[in-house]
């Protein structure tokens, strides 16, 4: 059984425009998949369906065998760790420690336990010593790691990342990529950055105009210039 399954997912915005039409794909445990496509293709909208923040007009999302619905969002969100594009949206408490402990506390962990978990994760990501600092005192790269920490602390089965390396310098990118490669979670990364996709993933799912247009091995498409142009992708040479 795949860990993550999207079946014929369709979604319409409140004003009626189609955002997703009949998207279908599956991700097995341990796989690392890149979600590619130009801006406006519907990548972010798709990601919001994976933990029930958006519910489909038709079709189904299944996580670890659980169908995503209004009643199952709690279990789904314990299994899916969604890291958003803007770290400032995820670091909203006065200190990093509180931000990272937020998830465990919501799941019923006691304050001492939550604090211990938070410290541990921050330490493992190289942010030890920053526990009492507020996010605006961190560099862009550190903020991204902190945002990741807020999700990793809950031990999700699948990590979903929306543009994790945007606005990062080369050093920041390398640090983040290295970190993600070491981890064993199933990974779905939406990104513009083909180099990052190549560094992390073997498989690529490509979207355009709300539909899934390609699903295959990443290596096969990175050298096909025509293919890249056709799908609005840019490969860093």
């Amino acid at each position: 059984m795949p860990l993550l399954e999207v079946a014929d997912l369709t979604y319409r915005y409140p004003d009626g425009t189609h955002a997703l039409s009949g998207v279908s794909f599956a991700v097995e445990r341990g796989e690392k998949v890149a979600l590619l496509g130009p801006t406006g293709a519907g990548k972010s909208t798709l990601l919001l369906h994976l933990n029930g923040l958006l519910l489909p007009a038709s079709g189904c999302v299944t996580i670890d065998g659980i169908a995503v619905s209004g009643g199952t969002v709690r279990e789904v969100r314990q299994r899916v760790g969604l890291v958003f594009q803007d770290p400032d949206d995820q670091l909203f408490l006065p200190s990093l420690l509180e931000d990272v402990a937020f998830g465990p506390l919501n799941e019923g962990c006691d304050p001492e336990g939550a604090e211990l978990l938070a410290r541990g994760v921050l330490q493992s990501l190289g942010l030890g010593g920053n526990e009492m600092r507020a996010a605006h005192h961190l560099s862009g790269g550190e903020k991204r790691l902190a945002a990741l920490a807020t999700v990793l602390v809950s031990h999700p089965l699948v990590l979903v990342l929306d543009e994790p390396t945007s606005n990062l310098d080369a050093r920041g990118k390398r640090r983040l990529v290295r970190l993600l490669r070491e981890r064993g979670e199933t990974l779905l990364v939406a990104t513009h950055d083909l180099a990052v996709a190549r560094a992390l993933c073997e498989r690529a799912v490509i979207m355009a105009d709300g539909a899934l247009v390609h699903d295959g091995q990443l290596e096969h498409i990175v050298t096909d210039q025509e293919f890249l142009d056709h799908h609005g992708l840019w490969a860093e040479l």
Binding site: L48, L53, L93, P94, G103, L105, N106, P111, A114, A134
Partner: protein, 255 residues
């Protein structure tokens, strides 16, 4: 924007910082109330309370110069308001400055308002100099203020930094695009910048809400902090309350 310095204020540890934030806040309220409700013209009691506050500042390891500097801004406003009282309150004329009559009532109110405000102000400055914003939010939570308010304040801390950053960035961009524009145009630009910041803030709050939901939020922010209120702090607060209460009451009893 003059709020960022608050992050650096509460660095010095002292017997005051050892107290629970909730009790520091209560202590400030007690002193402010005591000072604000002193009988008019009770100069000895006023001096006593002012002296008490200065002693507390010393205990908090705040240098007098620093204390006065931090009080300066609000004190200027209070000074203006007090001087207004000097001229506006009717009563028996006791002196004449240029063309303005100074009344006995006016002098009484001027001195009382200024003195009481000074004392209460000093207490508030001691609080802000020894307590970080997150600690104040925690204190308000422990003091049972409405959840909606303490949660809003807790989130407002980060929002404020992000909003002000955006505000400054947009202002700079607008200014560089419109260098040399007249005052009216600059005012209109400022308004459109502020509106843009408002819009972004509201949209950002929706994204933040999603991020909160994604991590299991269901309506209330659970605090990581444990209450630091202990018997010793409560006794100290009670002592402070008794002293301040005695001084204030005595201003009404002694004639």
């Amino acid at each position: 924007m003059s709020f960022r310095h608050l992050d650096q204020f509460a660095q010095v540890s002292s017997p005051i910082t050892a107290l629970a934030p909730a009790l520091r806040v209560l202590g400030t309220v007690v002193v402010a109330l005591g000072a604000a409700t002193l009988r008019l013209g009770a100069w000895p009691q006023l001096a006593t309370l002012a002296g008490l506050v200065l002693v507390l500042a010393a205990v908090a390891r705040i240098p007098l110069r620093t204390l006065l500097l931090r009080m300066l801004g609000p004190l200027v406003f209070v000074l203006f308001a007090s001087v207004a009282l000097l001229f506006l309150v009717p009563g028996e004329v006791v002196a004449r400055v240029w063309w303005i009559d100074l009344t006995d009532n006016g002098l009484l109110r001027f001195g009382s308002a200024l003195g009481r405000a000074f004392t209460a102000l000093a207490a508030a400055v001691i609080l802000v100099s020894t307590t970080t914003f997150p600690e104040i939010v925690q204190a308000l939570r422990e003091l049972r203020l409405p959840h909606a308010v303490t949660t809003a304040l807790g989130l407002a801390y980060r929002f404020l930094y992000v909003i002000v950053d955006e505000l400054e960035r947009l202002q700079r961009a607008a200014r560089s695009r419109n260098a040399g524009a007249g005052a009216a145009k600059r005012r209109r630009l400022l308004v459109s910048v502020v509106a843009a910041v408002l819009r972004r803030a509201l949209v950002r709050s929706e994204r933040t809400h999603r991020a909160m939901l994604a991590r299991g939020f269901h309506g209330e922010i659970i605090s990581l902090h444990r209450s630091r209120v202990d018997a010793r702090s409560i006794m100290l607060l009670a002592l402070l309350g008794l002293v301040v209460g005695a001084v204030t009451l005595s201003s009404y009893l002694a004639r």
